[in-house]
């Protein structure tokens, strides 16, 4: 894992990628810092961090697009997959390399709150919390980017798909409010989820009976739940998408609240995508 980490991290700086990411991130955060903190004389640095979540939208695809897609394209995966190396080590090595680049850049922005402490009072606890939340948010985004990079051997496709996915995640909170909360549409939504899940299972194992069985079980469960307590369905769509809302949890950090459940949520979220990445690579060997 360490070897992979070293190689990946170095290659950020032997190519332009690392420099592009860092300079882009630092310039944008500098601009926001100047406008929000310096010009208007506001010591709350968390406002800057909240404003630059959008930067991750472009920044994360830059650092994740290449990670696995390029290995496949250059056929160097034939080296790493035939070496006595665990798949988890490979994926984690790459993940931590991207995370380290992101963390390093974030550390450099630390100069900005330090400047605030020189000329005013910085709400230290809140800013540290904000940094932590921002780092965790980035960690999740990088895990998503890494996963998408494992799906294709084209960097550009990986970058665009990652960008679109992250955009959707960030816009989720706005879209959520427009979703219907009445019972009928909720039931339809759950039904679609069940069908979608069994279709997914069908496409991965190609067994019509198993996937049909899962769909049947799903529908029966839906019926039982309906008979037991109809109100569970109310607003289920909003709750479902809310669960995926990375940004909502970040906001509590930005307000200076250290929310342990949110930390666990972020780590679980990232871990789930890393697991999916490993599965994806494993699956490709079989197809």
């Amino acid at each position: 894992m360490l070897a992979i980490f070293n190689r990946e991290f170095r290659s950020y700086f032997t190519s332009a990628t690392g420099y592009i990411f860092m300079s882009f991130f630092l310039i944008m955060s500098g601009i926001y810092f100047a406008i929000i903190n310096l010009i208007s004389g506001n010591p709350n640095y968390n406002l800057v961090l909240s404003s630059i979540t959008m930067i991750l939208l472009i920044g994360v695809p830059i650092i994740t697009m290449r990670l696995l897609s390029e290995e496949k394209k250059q056929k160097t995966d034939q080296l790493v997959l035939t070496a006595p190396l665990r798949l988890s080590g490979l994926v984690l090595g790459k993940y931590f390399a991207a995370l380290a680049l992101f963390g390093l850049t974030l550390l450099i922005t630390g100069i900005q709150p330090i400047i605030i402490t020189l000329f005013g009072t910085l709400p230290v606890g809140e800013v540290l919390g904000g940094y932590m939340g921002y780092f965790l948010l980035g960690a999740c985004f990088i895990a998503i980017g890494l996963f998408i990079s494992s799906l294709t051997d084209n960097q550009v496709v990986a970058a665009l798909t990652t960008f679109a996915t992250l955009l959707l995640l960030l816009l989720m909170d706005g879209i959520k409010q427009a979703l219907p909360i009445d019972r009928t549409s909720s039931i339809v939504f759950v039904g679609i989820l069940v069908v979608g899940l069994s279709a997914l299972i069908y496409f991965s194992i190609r067994n019509i009976y198993v996937s049909a069985g899962i769909a049947m079980v799903g529908f029966i469960a839906m019926g039982i739940v309906y008979g037991w307590d109809k109100t569970i369905y109310d607003g289920i769509m909003v709750r479902f998408f809310d669960w995926f809302s990375l940004l909502r949890r970040y906001e509590s950090f930005a307000m200076g609240i250290f929310d342990l459940s949110a930390v666990v949520y972020y780590i679980t979220f990232a871990a789930a995508f890393l697991f999916l990445t490993i599965q994806m690579i494993e699956k490709r060997r079989w197809s």
Partner: protein, 322 residues
């Protein structure tokens, strides 16, 4: 050392490798021969654990590649068709990285590196970026990569592709030398290469093994083909008629005129009949001097036709030639 049993790989409807069985003994050099798309690379990719088989098992030194991948992979050095090189690294950085992922002990790292670089003669290039190397040197770095970690088994997918003739000879000798303490499978298009290096040849066509023998036996079998190239001075049609009148000629055809006043002919006789002497007297009688006579070198395609047609009873061979 390598035990392949009932190996099958399907891509949807397409069968890339079709129930392949073979074993390679310790210290043996085995050549995989086959046209493009015959399933050579797929078989190699399965043996090295890069992809999984649909059916069948691969065992390296008794270790199943799927059940004990870490241990089995430690025993294998793999040079794929396209050397797996990171273009943004220097040769030394790259080989150091390979040492690390192949778990070469830190103390031995330097020694291993220099030994391997010496062996494939890339020492002078060690500070160069891989992307700036020529194809031949890239191939050598790929070979160096496969040798790191002292693997007992080497799988080399077309190791001499893209090299100049001098390098080809060097690499062949290197492989021969490695054969003393390694078990090697290499694939190739080129028959002469395989016969120069290998103890045994396995011919693969359409995912199936069609022949497996020593190079000598194989070429003896192949040289039974009685095809000649003749250059005869004289009128084309009459010469052709004369050739066809000789007993034992199965097939004769006039080809292009390469020299003024002569014509080239392709002649094939029935098996176990030597028509060369009779041909000479027939021509000298008519005063059509034979300027050249040589037996045709069999191309790989011919061998395939021969091998596959032998299985079907030899019916298709002649008609396919025309």
């Amino acid at each position: 050392m390598i035990e392949v049993k009932n190996l099958t790989k399907r891509y949807g409807q397409h069968v890339a490798v079709d129930h392949v069985d073979f074993t390679v003994n310790k210290g043996e050099i085995v050549g995989f021969l086959g046209p493009n798309g015959a399933g050579k690379s797929t078989t190699m990719n399965i043996i090295t654990g890069y992809i999984s088989a649909t059916e069948g098992t691969v065992k390296v030194d008794g270790l199943d590649i799927l059940e004990q991948p870490q241990e089995a992979k430690k025993k294998i050095g793999y040079l794929p068709e396209l050397p797996p090189l990171y273009m943004d690294m220097t040769v030394e950085e790259y080989l150091r990285f390979v040492c690390q992922i192949k778990k070469v002990e830190r103390n031995n790292e330097k020694e291993t590196l220099y030994k391997v670089m010496e062996l494939v003669k890339i020492k002078d290039m060690r500070k160069r970026l891989i992307k700036n190397l020529s194809k031949g040197y890239k191939q050598r770095v790929g070979l160096a990569q496969a040798l790191i970690g002292k693997p007992e088994v080497l799988i080399l997918d077309e190791p001499t592709v893209g090299l100049d003739p001098k390098q080809i000879i060097e690499i062949r000798n290197l492989i021969k030398g490695l054969g003393n303490d390694h078990t090697i499978i290499l694939s190739s298009h080129i028959l002469s290469e395989v016969s120069a290096v290998c103890d045994r040849v396995i011919i693969i066509d359409k995912g199936k093994i069609v022949a497996s023998d020593t190079p000598d036996n194989l070429s003896r079998r192949m040289s039974q083909s009685n095809r000649f190239m003749l250059r005869i001075q004289g009128p084309k049609q009459e010469v052709l008629d004369t050739i066809r009148s000789i007993e034992g000629v199965k097939f004769a055809e006039a080809q292009r005129v390469r020299e003024q006043g002569t014509c080239d002919f392709l002649v094939e006789s029935h098996d176990e009949v030597d028509i060369r002497e009779e041909l000479f007297y027939a021509m000298s009688e008519k005063k059509y001097p034979i300027l050249q006579m040589k037996s045709m070198d069999l191309t790989l395609e011919d061998i395939f036709l021969k091998v596959t047609s032998q299985q079907k009873g030899g019916a298709t061979y002649v008609s396919d030639l025309q």
